[in-house]
Point group: C2
Amino acid sequence: MAVTINDVAKEAGVSITTVSRVINGNYPVKQETRQRVEEAIKKLNFQPNPIARSLVCRRTNSIGIVVPSITNMYFTEVVDGIEKYARNNSYDIFLNITNGDAKAEINAVNKFIERYVDGIIVVDPQTENMLSGFYDEIVNTVPVVFVNGYHQEIDLSFVISNEENGFKNALKHLNKTGHKNIIFVRGESSYSYDLKENIYRKFIKNIGSREYILTVNAGNSIEVVENTKKSIINISSEIKLGEDFTALIACNDLMATGALNACLELGIKVPDEFSIIGFDNIILSQMTTPKLSTVDQNMKKLGEKSAEMLFNYIESGYEADKVLINTKLILRESCRI
Amino acid sequence: MAVTINDVAKEAGVSITTVSRVINGNYPVKQETRQRVEEAIKKLNFQPNPIARSLVCRRTNSIGIVVPSITNMYFTEVVDGIEKYARNNSYDIFLNITNGDAKAEINAVNKFIERYVDGIIVVDPQTENMLSGFYDEIVNTVPVVFVNGYHQEIDLSFVISNEENGFKNALKHLNKTGHKNIIFVRGESSYSYDLKENIYRKFIKNIGSREYILTVNAGNSIEVVENTKKSIINISSEIKLGEDFTALIACNDLMATGALNACLELGIKVPDEFSIIGFDNIILSQMTTPKLSTVDQNMKKLGEKSAEMLFNYIESGYEADKVLINTKLILRESCRI
DNA sequence: TTGAAAGCGCTAACAA
DNA sequence: TTGTTAGCGCTTTCAA
């Protein structure tokens, strides 16, 4: 049996109220008494029971993280950022993986609320849950911060990476280094893919060159690497890579890696004959040969920032807010410099 | 304010005890009464407060996972396996990332115990904590299962992948497909590297060929890819890759990827001129060109199995046990078949 | 500056 | 089959 506040009170010859006071330091206690209590605490190696505390205070010193997947390096880094920040503030973390299922996301959030978590971070929330208004009442109960995902006209708190900006810069760089005809690779359905496609379209129109949009399956899972590779090899008979089109920009690094693999197989030299730029800057992008140029989303910072916001809400109350995190073009070896 | 058992009792016109009984179904309740209570529960949308429950039952329906890192794809898959299994059994998960720090590991475990978690899984525990006897008393308080890590003569519960077996098979395959002189790549210090080195040494002696052991820095982090690449390029002036040595076996897929990158840069054709086999079967191994042959550790299964064991302990009491998970040689494109 | 006592929401003896 | 009651370990009024 663990030692309780009662044991400490007896040992120190005071009431449990007094012990509680020295633990929390929220009421005056005579210096001498405090010392006696502190000694008793040390002697008995007393740790206040957080469960009992939570029951009365409605505070658990824990937060919940909801994330679509954890085998995806992208999310993993966000979680890592959150975890570090939370631990530094001595918060514990509940983790729930939804596999991108909207129902599972709702269940996760509800379970967290039941558990009295002090706050919730949802990474890449399902768009349908954003639109259904599910979260609108939730935030009256417990603060919630979202990391990326659909946020147009949604009056909730977000940390969002400035994808527009990064993507535009990548495109500009490609153009500046002599590329005119640029292939765009995207996955099937996602707010972020649409966003990038729009930018791509406008840009291509602007410089008066040819569009080529390649849509591949399974945008965010491992398979997308292989899928992209095959797609590119397929179209390589139709359009001349390195001549008709001399560059490619992808919606994420997995797709870019697939493109790189295709070039390797087709004997097209990157970056001499063909340039490739990815997006995200997951660690994979440093492991390829040549190393991928990409746009850094700074996932760790996304995580840290979301945690920081959440803790502010926990302390000072919730208020919808959107924070934009800058992205940065990282030039490595897969494109001209 | 959330609805409590009291509200339900009033609504149904019974005592809270009766409500508790129908919730838990552990004592007889008249059919008719039960129905009334159930209706009240539904009507008020009552959810029992798990905190109050935990306080009296000393059970939280949660487990703690301690893991060195989460940006490492290897651990990530183990955690994923645990999470799935736990969620299927409607357990929630606390996650703690130690960054391989022994003190942090101890803190994590202690915090979990304070929180009354029902069980703990420690992935790749720090050897010094295993040896110091820290866990010996812990397991009297709460069941703990370890995934891999140092386990010689340690009388605790482990799920261990059979690395010996898988590594030996890889070596045999290399030899069977005509390779005699095989390079061995390892990281600096780890039980698992030593184990593999011993097997390698014996094997090489047995077939009467030349040893070549390459030790690279930062065994388990991203940098090891680049470090390995550089090391291989370095030694390539000293020993002729593809002639003196025609194959390479690495302690993990990151190192193998580095080796692959080196070959790419040196213009050595894999697998035509040089064979490479990695270890672990992280998803990266499917993303390289050529795809890596490797030894599957089945991390997901390691995770699932450890969760399964833990739940058994939670139900039926703890008892030290070691479970071996088989590894499997996966032949892809980076070695002769 | 201190203590007694109520209560957080629930479970489980015990009694009826 | 049901209800009364005493906790679980803590915080926080209220009174002294």
